[in-house]
């Protein structure tokens, strides 16, 4: 395990930071100190490693998508985070965080979820640790990711519906933060993405960088070369930064972010914070936010509940602004098309979130065939089947 790269802020504009109510300052300080102690503690590191292998099913393979590679005339490799226990990369972070919560002597877990994947990963990890868990989830997401709600409940978590705002991830995070402010002593907030107040962006990155660390080695071993392009979808940015980190010092490897353009970039029916956001301070961090000129956070939309968020992790903003990260926007319908393509061509049903990454990869392939592309397949799509069927029935009528 590599030691943490630990930054409070990113870049000259100081993205990130820790903009929280005073009652959380002490709590975040405690999380940071415990984390730094834990990752240098061989007992913690070996337990984490064992959990990754035995509970999480790591390592996950990186496979060549032969049929699509042939069809597109490029090399396409998929990092199979859909095969992680629970069906998404989220478990990498929940294993680390809940182990940390136990290390800190916390007795209760608070979380929030959009797609339900982070909620499921939290619920299953907390079940293993015997910790009671409350997961906040927007009512719109409860509706569109219903199977995940049931999975969380089966693991013993309480799913608390949130009906404020548009009833999506942002609103669920608001409620989780209110709970945390109220129950600071005994509760650990298991944050779902590489965003929020310091130390969460760095902490979640640390637990997610296993994706890129493995994939880089697997590319070298299996393919004999690094990829030319690395692609991931962006919700808050955890699978993305987890994938990119291993490649940051490879200047010839281009990094790409697939952002949700919803039904189009005009208006508020998208969640493309990197492309359309402006600098603001919310959910504990300075970053790019979709907001109006008065600083009110905008409503968002994406067909992928896990990408339906008005902000983005601070490190990604810095990477984009210094030209290290390119951004490709993907609409709902392009994502659904990619969802079908992968299911049919490779026998893998991707999450709607990951389908955004594939659609972006496809665009790159069209642009220039001479690429070797590594895409993070962040999760499997079983959770999206209901929505997909509803959608295709709607289209048939």
């Amino acid at each position: 395990m590599t030691t943490a790269s630990w930054e409070r802020t990113f870049g000259e504009l100081c993205y990130g930071g820790s903009y929280v109510p005073e009652s959380l300052v002490h709590v975040l300080d405690e999380v940071q100190k415990a984390f730094l102690t834990a990752i240098d503690d061989p007992a913690f590191v070996s337990r984490l490693d064992k959990l990754h292998r035995e509970f999480g099913g790591r390592e996950t393979p990186t496979i060549r998508a032969d049929n699509l590679s042939e069809r597109w005339g490029t090399g396409l490799f998929l990092k199979r985070e859909d095969l992680v226990h629970g069906g998404a990369h989220k478990l990498n972070s929940t294993i680390g965080q809940i182990l940390l919560a136990e290390y800190m002597g916390k007795t209760r877990i608070i979380s929030e979820t959009g797609a339900g994947q982070h909620g499921v990963a939290t619920a299953m990890t907390a079940a293993k640790f015997g910790l009671p868990t409350d997961v906040y989830m927007g009512v719109v997401d409860i509706e569109r990711q219903h199977s995940n709600v049931r999975r969380m409940q089966l693991h013993g978590a309480r799913v608390i519906p949130v009906s404020t705002g548009r009833g999506t991830l942002k609103d669920a995070i608001n409620e989780a933060m209110r709970d945390w402010i109220t129950n600071v002593g005994e509760s650990y907030h298991c944050f779902g993405t590489a965003a929020g107040p310091f130390p969460y962006p760095s902490l979640v990155k640390h637990f997610q960088r296993v994706i890129g660390d493995e994939a880089r080695r697997q590319m070298l071993e299996g393919h004999g070369a690094l990829p030319t392009d690395v692609i991931a979808c962006i919700g808050g940015g955890s699978n993305a930064i987890g994938t990119y980190t291993a490649f940051l010092d490879d200047p010839d490897v281009r990094l790409w972010a697939a952002e949700p353009a919803g039904t189009g970039l005009d208006g508020t029916n998208h969640a493309a914070a990197l492309t359309r956001g402006s600098v603001g301070v919310f959910h504990g961090m300075k970053s790019l936010w979709l907001q109006n000129e008065d600083g009110q956070i905008a409503p968002t939309h994406s067909i992928a509940a896990g990408l339906d968020y008005p902000g983005v992790g601070p490190e990604l903003v810095e990477l984009m602004e210094r030209g290290r990260l390119g951004v490709i926007t993907v609409t709902d319908s392009e994502a659904v098309e990619a969802f079908e393509v992968l299911s049919q061509a490779e026998g893998i049903i991707p999450a709607f979130e990951s389908a955004h990454a594939l659609a972006a990869t496809w665009k790159l392939a069209k642009e220039d065939r001479d690429r070797t592309m590594l895409m993070c397949l962040s999760g499997r799509g079983d959770k999206d089947l209901e929505s997909y069927w509803k959608l295709s029935e709607g289209n048939d009528e």
């Binding site: 930071g17 820790s18 903009y19 929280v20 109510p21 005073e22 009652s23 300052v25 002490h26 709590v27 404020t164 705002g165 942002k170 609103d171 608001n174 933060m177 209110r178 402010i181 109220t182 129950n183 600071v184 402006s278 600098v279 603001g280 301070v281 919310f282 959910h283 504990g284 936010w289 907001q291 000129e293 008065d294 600083g295 009110q296 956070i297």
Partner: protein
């Protein structure tokens, strides 16, 4: 000269400071409510700019802010409302409570507008000292007072620094949790605010959860210089959507009762 300095010049001052969301339920009614509260004896005001995602606020103030936003409140309309209150009460200390993004996105110009409207001091609910350099600089260059918050888990040394760095007064959060009227005042709250009196001689006001004139008196009795009541008033506005005069009557009765206590200073120590 910051008007809070005048208010708190007497170290035994027992100030009552109502909180209102600007523009709740609409601009005109909000002005009427605030005007009546001052006429009824409020010693100063804590006024909130509505934010659609107020993470430090419980359901009552969330709804209050949602009403204000639905009625069309913006940064400029709130600033105009403050200016009108200032116009009516030239000597009244006025402090604002904001979520940082509302001010951050206005940049320096926003601070200038607020100073021009007659604001004395500003407290930000999601801006800890560590991140506040730019904010403090903007306040200073516009002659606005800086109000830091102290929480129940703020270590003693840090609390001392926050008191020292605050201008105008310091906002002491009475308990863990979001804003919202509590049915009782906990022993932990009394203990926490009493302990702070030994940390500083500078003025501080206590807020969050306070919902009864007796609680106000008990908090004053610990040595606090000011007490802030907000959600309790917001809920009066919420429950009288078609009869703001009923809410106003309730708010004024509360303030009148509280002020009758403030005269009766007990002999302490």
């Amino acid at each position: 000269m910051n008007r809070f300095h005048t208010l708190f010049r007497d170290p035994d001052a027992r100030a009552f400071i109502p909180f209102f969301t600007l523009g709740d339920p609409d601009w005109e009614t909000s002005l009427r409510i605030i005007d009546s509260a001052v006429q009824a004896g409020a010693d100063a005001l804590e006024l909130g700019f509505p934010f659609a995602d107020p993470i430090s606020d419980g359901p009552t103030n969330q709804k209050s802010m949602a009403r204000a936003l639905r009625a069309g409140s913006t940064f400029d309309s709130c600033t105009l409302l403050v200016a009108e209150v200032r116009n009516r009460f030239p000597e009244l200390p006025i402090s604002l409570l904001l979520y940082y993004n509302l001010l951050f996105c206005q940049e320096r110009e926003g601070y200038r507008k607020l100073a021009e409207a007659g604001v004395d001091a500003i407290v930000i609910s999601d801006l800890p000292m560590e991140e506040s350099a730019y904010h403090v600089d903007c306040l200073k260059s516009n002659g606005l007072g800086c109000v830091h918050m102290v929480a129940p888990n703020t270590p003693r040394d840090r609390a001392r620094t926050l008191f020292d760095e605050s201008d105008a007064f310091t906002y002491v959060i009475s308990r863990f949790g979001t804003t919202g009227a509590d049915s009782r005042l906990s022993d932990a709250t009394i203990e926490h605010v009493t302990r702070l009196r030994a940390v500083t001689e500078k003025p501080y006001a206590v807020g969050f959860g306070i919902s009864h004139p007796d609680f106000v008196r008990q908090i004053w009795d610990t040595g606090a210089n000011g007490v802030i009541v907000g959600s309790h008033f917001s809920s009066m506005i919420e429950h009288n959507p078609d009869a703001p005069e009923v809410a106003i009557e309730g708010i004024c009765a509360f303030i009148a009762e509280v002020k009758s206590h403030s005269e009766a200073r007990p002999v302490t120590l």
